[in-house]
């Protein structure tokens, strides 16, 4: 390898590293599938293999008229995965990546809180008997369970903690 080529090679590596650091958040948002914990990472939860991702212009295919609200709040992408709790409870996790934290906050605060518990999770969270919603930075996470059980609320919170750990600030 000649010296000029070696210099160019080293410079290219340095430039690439700088670019990677500068655009780190963006790369994370493009791989939001990695934000979903694997089976067993949260006790009792099994993750189903498929993760579906919707671009903003496809979002209404997934959530119908709800999409308008998310588009206005600056949604960049939406990913969703299904889980099972001990093979009995079905649960869907939706992860919305917004353009900024204000977008996540506006969606979170647009919904009536009803009688939610407000556990310490991310920047703000609401926990119900069959649902958990929380936001962290520009991410908004919603869990919905389709059956009920006495252990579900705590189990959802545990899964929420596992997701929150994976989300970058």
């Amino acid at each position: 390898m000649t010296a000029p080529f070696l210099r160019r090679f080293i410079l290219a590596i340095i430039a690439s590293s700088v670019l990677s650091l500068a655009t780190g958040c963006h790369r994370h948002s493009d791989s939001s599938a990695s934000f979903f914990p694997e089976s067993g990472e949260a006790s009792g939860w099994t993750k189903l293999p498929e993760v579906r991702t919707f671009a903003p212009d496809q979002l209404s295919d997934y959530i119908d008229g709800d999409a308008e609200k998310y588009l206005q709040a600056g949604v960049r992408s939406t990913s969703t995965a299904d889980y099972k709790l001990k093979d009995q409870i079905q649960l869907t996790v939706d992860l919305y990546t917004m353009s900024n934290s204000a977008g996540a906050k506006s969606i979170f605060e647009s919904e009536p809180p009803m009688n939610a518990q407000t556990p310490s999770l991310g920047d703000a969270a609401r926990l119900y008997s069959q649902s958990l919603i929380f936001r962290k930075g520009r991410y908004l996470v919603r869990m919905v369970a389709y059956q009920d059980s006495p252990e579900l609320t705590q189990a959802m919170f545990n899964l929420g903690v596992a997701i929150e750990k994976r989300l970058p600030r």
Binding site: S60, D64, G65, D66, E68, E111, Y146
Partner: protein
């Protein structure tokens, strides 16, 4: 109930005897004509029947199969004034017709037309003489049906369960103009079915305020997102005015077993409640107006502001009833509500 439109069954029968007789006579033509000249236009009241059973779910996440069948029969027999659970279906579907059951599955397992409810309807349709292969249960996509628990099938000898996106189906090449928007309709509606029974869900909708029968037609066309502007108004009314939808629509049998009073149209359990009901009508506007009152009542009970205060009044209902659309009536004095 708002505007005092809810009546007892006895009061209803006394006050709108003419309408009840017309319905009770059970001429197929009444239902067939109702889509073009709904009772409200002919002078009779538009009947909406709500049948409820507080024990529908017992202690389960799923409604009880036998109770669903019984509730369906009660609703249909009351609407058609008959003691026979099969004859109402003969008044809706002609012999030899292929009937499409347009379900609603976009919200997933928690808030979609229940398979057990559809099974009860299919049972009565077959008993009334409709061949299994002439029943098509459908919505937009196979994936949505599958997630809710429908077993996909396109076997012409059995009841078919399919999405418009299934191989070989798709959207009709004909481009319709609904108001100012161009759209294409599912081949399941335009080509496969002779008539359509609408099986929607009782839901709040963040845009239109309410979604029941008329909004369920957003699962028929290829570009529903184009129809969401301005609280889906006049999008919903314009879409329902398209001839394939208007001409093939026969009846609404709404799954109101679980309803949603806020946060719709997606399923958010904290805003869902067990209404334990089945609603039936031949007038899609009258039944949507009734659904609106139910949702407003539940919102008030739960301390949630009105749809108007939330900026989402269901103004599409009045537009659907206006002289340009004439899809039914939104006049509470011309809606005969029977609760059983």
């Amino acid at each position: 109930m708002k505007n005092g439109t809810f009546q007892s069954r006895r009061e209803f029968l006394r006050e709108c005897a003419i309408g009840a007789l017309a319905v009770g006579a059970g001429k197929y033509a009444f239902v067939a004509d109702s889509k073009v000249n709904p009772p409200s236009v002919t002078g009779a009241k538009s009947k909406v029947v709500i049948a409820r059973d507080p024990a529908l779910y017992a202690n389960s996440s799923n409604p009880d199969e036998a109770r669903v069948q019984k509730l369906l029969d009660e609703a249909m027999q009351t609407f058609f004034q008959t003691s026979d659970p099969v004859s109402p279906w003969k008044k809706i579907v002609r012999p030899g017709e292929v009937v499409g059951l347009k379900i609603n599955t976009i919200a997933g397992p928690g808030l979609s037309t229940h398979p057990v409810f559809v099974a009860a309807i299919c049972e009565r349709l077959q008993q009334s003489g409709v061949k299994a292969g002439n029943i098509i249960v459908w919505d937009r996509t196979n994936d949505e049906l599958d997630r809710v628990g429908y077993r996909l099938s396109n076997d012409p000898n059995h009841i078919r369960y399919t999405g418009t996106d299934a191989k070989g189906i798709g959207y009709d090449e004909t481009v319709f103009t609904a108001g100012a928007i161009q759209t294409r309709l599912s081949n399941l509606l335009t080509r496969a079915c002779d008539c359509m029974i609408n099986l929607p869900i009782l839901k709040h909708h963040v845009g239109s305020g309410v979604t029941l029968s008329l909004k369920n037609m957003y699962g028929v066309n290829d570009n529903p997102s184009k129809f969401h502007a301005n609280n889906c108004c006049p999008g919903i009314a314009d879409l329902n005015l398209l001839s394939p939808i208007r001409n093939k629509f026969r009846f609404v049998v709404a799954d109101a077993m679980t309803g949603c009073f806020a946060g719709g149209p997606g399923y958010k359990p904290q805003y869902a409640w067990k209404y334990n009901g089945i609603m039936v009508a031949s007038d899609p506007v009258a039944i949507d107006h009734t659904a609106w009152q139910i949702i407003e009542k539940k919102r008030a009970e739960m301390g949630v502001n009105t749809l108007a205060q939330a900026g989402t009044p269901p103004k599409y209902i009045a537009v659907a009833a206006d002289p340009q659309h004439r899809l039914g009536t939104d006049d509470p004095d011309r809606i005969g509500l029977v609760e059983i």
